[in-house]
Amino acid sequence: MKNKGLFLIVLALMGSMNGCAAVQPKDREFLADDMMYFDADPQEAAWHLHVEEVLEGSRGGFSGSGGGCGCK
């Protein structure tokens, strides 16, 4: 619960930053570039996430992929 509280505080802090760090629409050209995307290729990212979830004991945080795997 303590960590959830901390997360909400960080969220609020990040949200409050928009006032001082706002990017005007005319300056958004670079933000729309593929190179700025966190997952420019969602299909590729989903497959790698699936591989990582099968091989590791952790999940989540990067948006998950469905399906099980009995191949271990």
Binding site: F30, D41, S63, G68
Partner: protein, 356 residues
């Protein structure tokens, strides 16, 4: 960030994984169709052809023999944009001889403050059925998996984005593998016993920063660097740290490459043991629940045409990537040698896609 209007797109890829005695390869195809610039439907499929002679299979399975299997996955999804809000949903069915999974995913993304802040809410619910090819008497065991995630993306400057995600995953039902056994101090192998519920929490912080090209070279972005960190912990007492550094570089307007390094480290589940006392109620000898670390490095290359070409193919692209993974276990040994186990894997991916 910001919600982009959907495009008509077709995507075909082939994936290959080889390491630790496991080989997985197969194709994937995805087709997207945009409607009126605000709606889209999407359908796709994937096949994984699995051949496994992993350490678990060779040392624990009842017959100790390699096996082959196939996994097919199909999904159907759609999205709709209302102003600054994107709603998306998809349904995925995954099927292999001893595991079926049905997943419904619903997601909502909303842009605030002139699209400087984007909030994403996501819920995914899976209903899985587990069976055993080795033991027909096992029947079917059920597992329900739910994931709730909340994400916030903030533009900090015209070339700097930061993202914070929080996700809770909850599993309820048969979590362990029907094939895997635990090793007792008496040297006897017995079936693993797991708790029937597991809840995990993941916190992720990501940042992407773009670099400008010299104006004399045409301006625009020359490259970007992405840093990400994840902290994870769950009710099995597994805790992990994941860090990744990813750099992309544009060689020309239509050619780019990317390189990354990824580090992963986790602690063991409270009931994991390389060798366990018989008196322990829950027993696991799954190396994915042991204490280990892994390193991953990767290289990718992308070519994307900026022009409409080849009839109705528009801005077609080609991408290929190679990853090398290394795993080192601190408390998982190979029963055949008594030595701590480690392994390496090679991962290839090649894809072709186009808007139309």
């Amino acid at each position: 960030m910001a919600i982009d209007p959907p495009e008509d797109e077709a995507f075909l890829s082939y994936n290959y994984f080889d390491g630790g005695g496991i080989s997985v390869h197969g194709p994937a195809v995805i087709l997207k169709k945009a409607m009126k610039g605000r709606m889209s439907i999407e359908a796709g499929g994937r096949m994984d052809i699995v051949s496994s002679a992993s350490i678990d299979v060779l040392t624990q399975a009842s017959k100790g023999e390699a096996f082959t299997d196939e996994r097919t996955e199909v999904y159907l999804g759609g999205s709709r944009i209302w102003g600054d809000t994107l709603f998306s949903a998809n349904y995925t069915v995954s099927d292999e001889s001893d595991y079926t999974s049905n997943t419904l995913m619903l997601a909502l993304t909303h842009d605030f403050f002139e699209r400087n802040v984007s909030v994403n809410l996501r819920v995914a619910r899976s209903t899985d059925d587990v069976s055993s090819n080795a033991d027909p008497a096992f029947g079917e065991a059920g597992l329900k998996r739910t994931a709730y995630s909340l994400g916030l993306t903030q533009s900090l400057s015209p070339r700097w984005l930061a993202q914070l995600n929080y996700e809770v995953t909850a599993d309820d039902g048969y979590i362990n593998s029907p094939y895997r056994n635990a090793l007792l101090e008496s040297t006897a192998w017995v079936p693993e016993v797991y708790p029937n519920a597991r809840t995990g929490q993941a916190w992720v912080l990501r940042s992407t920063h773009g670099f400008l090209r010299d104006l004399q070279a045409g301006g625009g972005l020359r490259g970007s660097v992405q840093l990400s960190y994840r902290y994870y912990r769950d009710t099995f007492d597994v805790q992990s740290h994941t860090g990744k550094l990813f750099y992309q570089h544009r060689l020309s307007p239509n050619r780019s490459f990317g390189i990354f390094y990824r580090y992963y480290q986790q602690t063991a589940a409270s009931f994991y043991g390389d060798v366990l006392p018989a008196s322990q109620l829950f027993k696991a000898r799954d190396k994915e629940l042991s204490t280990f670390s892994s390193h991953g490095v990767g290289l990718s290359f992308k070519f994307e045409s900026r022009e409409k070409k080849w009839g109705w193919f528009e801005r077609p692209y080609f991408k290929m990537g190679y990853n090398f993974l290394m795993f080192d276990y601190d408390d998982f040994s190979d029963p055949r040698t008594g030595q701590l186990y480690s392994w390496e894997a090679n991962v290839f991916q090649i894809s072709l896609g186009s808007r139309y």
